[in-house]
């Protein structure tokens, strides 16, 4: 039974990040398997975003290590990679979706160029193919192909967020980091985005680490849930299990705080 399990895509051991005297996150350990969606929930300041930035190699760790199963070199400790290799990983095998699409998009260039940028960054030099790929991806995230030459600033918030997702997925990454992907969107747009994300994650068998404070997002998307409180993981388990039978006092508070319409 155990032998049938594939190797984890990412393994985190004792990850600790301190900002001077303050704790960003402390002693976080978990493994993420291919095709698995992990949601990190917790209140503001609980260290969710710090954890995400550490995982995606954008912040150096104070202690612990993050290992990733790369396509070419097998399992590597991210800290041992050169900056060039880390950046390459980030724009090929990974995706990073920011809460505010303006942080993840290039607002000065058209939607097509936004989607095509990663392709050009990995050496695609054929305009027709780049454009074809961009059109295909706009379609997949339900953006009208006629808007391919429009600036993202002319898009609505939900469209910008979907464009950001397309821009990240165009190189077929295996792992996507999302920081509050539905934050700042109204409820109906949120629902549509969640639906789209669920489809894409299944279709492409993506692994994802999603940071959110919205338990509805977690319930819809996540296979597993990790609850953070004051920089530490206080509870972890299958999504339904954690939400239906919360053990830790904070998780109980969190679940009890969901508004019932």
């Amino acid at each position: 039974m155990i032998d049938d399990l594939p190797d984890p895509l990412m393994r985190v051991t004792g990850l600790t990040k301190l900002y001077g005297r303050y704790v960003g996150c402390r002693d976080v350990s978990f493994a993420l398997w291919p095709g698995e969606v992990l949601c990190v929930v917790g209140e503001s300041g609980s260290g969710k975003t710090t954890l995400l930035n550490c995982l995606s190699g954008q912040l150096p760790l104070t202690a612990g290590k993050v290992e990733y199963d790369t396509r070419i070199d097998g399992v590597v400790d991210l800290a041992t990679l050169s900056e060039a290799a880390r950046r390459l990983l980030r724009r090929t095998d990974w995706g990073v979706v920011h809460q505010n699409p303006r942080d993840g998009l290039r607002m000065a260039v058209s939607a097509g160029a936004n989607v095509g940028e990663r392709l050009m960054a990995v050496g695609e030099r054929h305009y027709g193919r780049i454009r074809g790929e961009a059109l295909d991806w706009l379609g997949r995230v339900e953006i009208d192909g006629g808007r391919i030459d429009d600036l993202p600033a002319t898009f609505s918030g939900g469209m910008q967020q979907r464009l950001q997702i397309a821009r990240n997925l165009v190189t077929r990454p295996r792992l996507v980091f999302m920081d509050e992907p539905t934050g700042g969107l109204d409820v109906s747009v949120q629902a549509r985005l969640l639906d789209l994300m669920r489809t894409l994650v299944t279709e492409l068998s993506l692994s994802a680490v999603i940071v959110t404070h919205d338990l509805a997002v977690a319930r819809l998307l996540a296979h597993r849930l990790m609850v953070m409180y004051r920089g530490e993981v206080v509870e972890t388990g299958l999504t339904d299990q954690v939400l239906d039978d919360p053990h830790h006092a904070y998780t109980q508070l969190l679940v009890a705080s969901i508004l019932q319409p």
């Binding site: 950046r87 260039v109 058209s110 050009m120 960054a121 030099r125 305009y127 391919i148 030459d149």
Partner: protein, 297 residues
């Protein structure tokens, strides 16, 4: 038409700048030559002309010029424009060097926005004035980030710019300051020369120095350096073409300026390189309307 050396103006060091400053700039030039296309920072000084008029170029020229040099200065290809005349006079005055309008006779050619039509020879030095040395600045405003991108040779962004051109206009519309890749490594802004001049950068026997005074950067193309203009496989790099010939000398292979010839709005096309045009006329080539600009004062 080389003007003999004059006596230097008293009270100034040779070529205006002090010796230590010139040495420091020469060190930067050597460093920039060692890594073709790399933007080497240097301690740019205040010069007696405004930023944007060639403060970088004038410092590079001052650093490398010697008493035996012959200087040519052009602005948009012409030897007789205000900026060109002023800078030429500046060095005649402070360095007492010989100046010329003839490209083959010059040992140093300081230029803005053009590279002479006449083929350059080994031993000549071209100094280009650069307003914005960073080719990716419009797309990536952070200097820390562009430096990192240069260091790691992450140049996908340059093609985003070209992609935008094609997406909006059907072709690469960038007409000047067309980005190039130097020696297969650094992407470089060739200063606002028309893309017509880009092929002249490639494998040039002359040393080419690019100096930006306000941005405090110097970069170089040593002689015989490979320079490739960026493009797409299905949208290859092309230079401008005209269906007209120069009205004065009849040249069909030079960069043409459109000039309004009289009050009636008659438009003529003439060579932008004034020396090249004059040489051709002296050699007997005549265009369709050789007197087109005779009336202009």
């Amino acid at each position: 038409m080389t003007t003999p050396s004059t006596t230097r103006a008293a009270g100034y060091n040779f070529a205006y700048l002090d010796e230590q400053t010139k040495r420091s700039i020469r060190r930067t030039i050597l460093k920039a030559m060692a890594v073709p296309g790399y933007q080497a920072p240097f301690g740019s000084r205040e010069m007696p002309l405004p930023y944007g008029w060639g403060t970088g170029g004038i410092q590079a020229t001052a650093a490398i010029i010697g008493p035996d040099d012959v200087l040519k200065v052009i602005d948009q290809g012409a030897d007789d424009t205000t900026n060109a005349v002023s800078i030429r006079r500046f060095f005649a005055l402070t360095a007492g060097v010989r100046t010329t309008e003839r490209t083959p006779e010059a040992s140093i050619i300081q230029t803005r926005h053009r590279i002479p039509e006449t083929k350059l020879a080994a031993g000549q030095i071209v100094v280009l004035q650069v307003p914005m040395p960073e080719p990716m600045r419009r797309l990536e405003p952070r200097e820390t980030e562009t430096r990192k991108m240069h260091a790691l040779a992450e140049y996908g962004l340059m093609h985003v710019k070209l992609y935008e051109d094609i997406a909006h206009l059907g072709k690469i519309s960038t007409a000047y300051d067309y980005p190039v890749k130097v020696n297969g490594r650094y992407v470089m802004a060739p200063s606002p020369i028309p893309k017509f001049d880009n092929p002249k950068l490639d494998m040039s026997p002359a040393l080419q120095i690019f100096a930006a005074g306000r941005e405090k950067r110097i970069y170089c193309l040593p002689p015989y350096t490979e320079v490739k203009s960026l493009d797409f496989d299905d949208h290859p790099f092309e230079i401008e073409q005209w269906d007209k010939a120069c009205a004065l000398c009849g040249a069909t292979d030079s960069f043409l300026d459109e000039v309004i010839a009289d009050d009636a709005g008659t438009r003529v096309y003439v060579c932008s390189d004034s020396d090249h045009c004059a040489e051709r006329r002296a050699a007997g080539h005549i265009g369709a309307t050789p007197d087109a600009l005779a009336e202009t004062p």
